[in-house]
Symmetry: C2
Subunit: 283 residues, 2 copies
């Protein structure tokens, strides 16, 4: 029934533009299933896509569209959230892949320049190389941090608040979009590999520097006992990463929480760790 409706629309006398607003992952399937043959004057019609990956859009349209349609690949780099107060200054990328009717093509581009978007004409290839290092990394960071179950604390820094906002906005988008950014941009895999390498390096640096300082402090401690930083429970001990990944005992966790709340001055009756109320046995 939807296809009948689309068929009727495609058969209208005049069609300036057909905008394909579908997910990255369904793009090929949708393009190949539309009734292009029913459009009366294909060369007067520009077919526009708005995908977040552009080489994939360009090659799909070039392969699956009848050859007389115009093709305009675009990426409006904003959504309902970032564009809610108007589109002025927000980036709009476009690539005139195949111009069959100049007037119609420019008419479409003008919609966004009239809204005072920042207009960027660039190749689909250049777009994808930029987007992998910006948009894909942004979404990856948001998805990554969302997995930590971070909560707003009473002592949020400005930087932490910007991260909480990032998690919220990136996770509003579907996982399907994120997965499409990964799968259909040739550069995304490379960026993910860079990120893994950065993580490994950072972790190694932290562990190494911490061990070096610890050794130095121990040596100082021998020659000047007072200069040694006192050992805080756990914090000075570098354990094997496997041990560090072990979950603490639930009993101890509840006990620590109770102690922290008591420190806050709250009245706590903790039944977690038994501390006998009885006086010692006289014998």
């Amino acid at each position: 029934k939807t296809m009948d409706h689309i068929g009727d629309l495609f058969s209208l006398d005049k069609l300036d533009a057909i905008v394909l607003s579908v997910s990255i992952n369904s793009f090929g399937k949708v393009v190949s299933s539309l009734p292009w043959e029913r459009v009366k004057m294909p060369s007067k019609t520009v077919v526009v896509d708005v995908l977040s990956v552009k080489i994939h859009a360009k090659t799909t349209l070039l392969e699956l569209l009848p050859p007389d349609f115009g093709i305009l690949c675009t990426h409006p780099m904003f959504g309902p959230e970032s564009g809610k107060n108007g589109w002025a200054g927000l980036p709009f990328m476009f690539d005139r892949v195949r111009v069959t009717d100049r007037r119609n093509c420019e008419k479409f581009v003008k919609i966004f320049s009239d809204e005072r978007c920042s207009m960027y004409e660039m190749s689909c290839e250049l777009h994808d190389s930029y987007a992998a290092s910006s948009q894909f990394i942004t979404h990856t960071t948001g998805r990554l941090l969302s997995k930590l179950g971070l909560q707003s604390t009473p002592i949020n820094t400005k930087g932490f608040e910007s991260l909480l906002k990032l998690i919220e906005t990136t996770c509003k988008d579907s996982f399907d979009l994120y997965e499409g950014l990964y799968k259909h941009n040739v550069h995304s895999k490379e960026q993910l590999t860079h990120l893994r390498k950065a993580f490994d390096e950072l972790e190694a640096t932290l562990i190494k520097t911490a061990e070096k300082k610890k050794k130095k402090e121990e040596e100082q401690g021998k020659s000047d006992k007072k200069a040694a930083v006192p050992a805080v429970h756990g914090s000075q001990v570098d354990v094997n990463p496997r041990v560090a990944s072990m979950k603490p005992s639930a009993t101890i966790q509840i006990h620590s929480l109770a102690t922290a709340l008591k420190d806050e001055g709250k009245k706590v009756f903790s039944l977690a760790v038994g501390e006998p109320n009885d006086t010692p046995c006289p014998k």
Copy 2:
């Protein structure tokens, strides 16, 4: 000479507060080397620290200070950047660890409440558990992304711009501070382990979903050739992570860049990959 100067200051008749504003990693050493014995009325003086880790500050001061000094552990959660337009609304955490002169202690706290900071009285223990999941994660994200050498692109999204700003502000702080947050907060190691786990999971999900969809598309391709998404060079191929981490040939990279710039309509004379200008040999 500095120690002489500090000794003179410590010998003044009246000392309401001594604020220790030093790095996390040097804190123990500094506290143990100061001439505390020269202060005339220790119980009238409150010793204040401003470290970003608080259990370490508290235990160090309790262990190394003469017992008659007051101790106030504080964490002003802002710096020259976030506090440049005033401190109103910015979080100030404090813990009255040892009160020997109530008036002096409150006088110090009042400086920040008068500036309309958001005042948070909480235990050092609770602070460190909050800070590991907020401040340490924020710094880790900034440090991690800074290693990718991300550049501003013409097509920045709002989210990407907030990440670029995060990198800038976190990397303005010394690596020594970041290293201190890791080493002297018992919860940091655990947070780093969570982050690694999240990364592993996200990567596995991406690779798995991409493989599943690829298989599905291949099957569809067999039954309905037109429905198959065309293979974009490289983008559909799932390679071994070791292969994916290989650096592309510099020659090919320069050639791709030249091609992209040509696509932009720029005039490029590329000498990277030889394409002979001669007409073919007549024989």
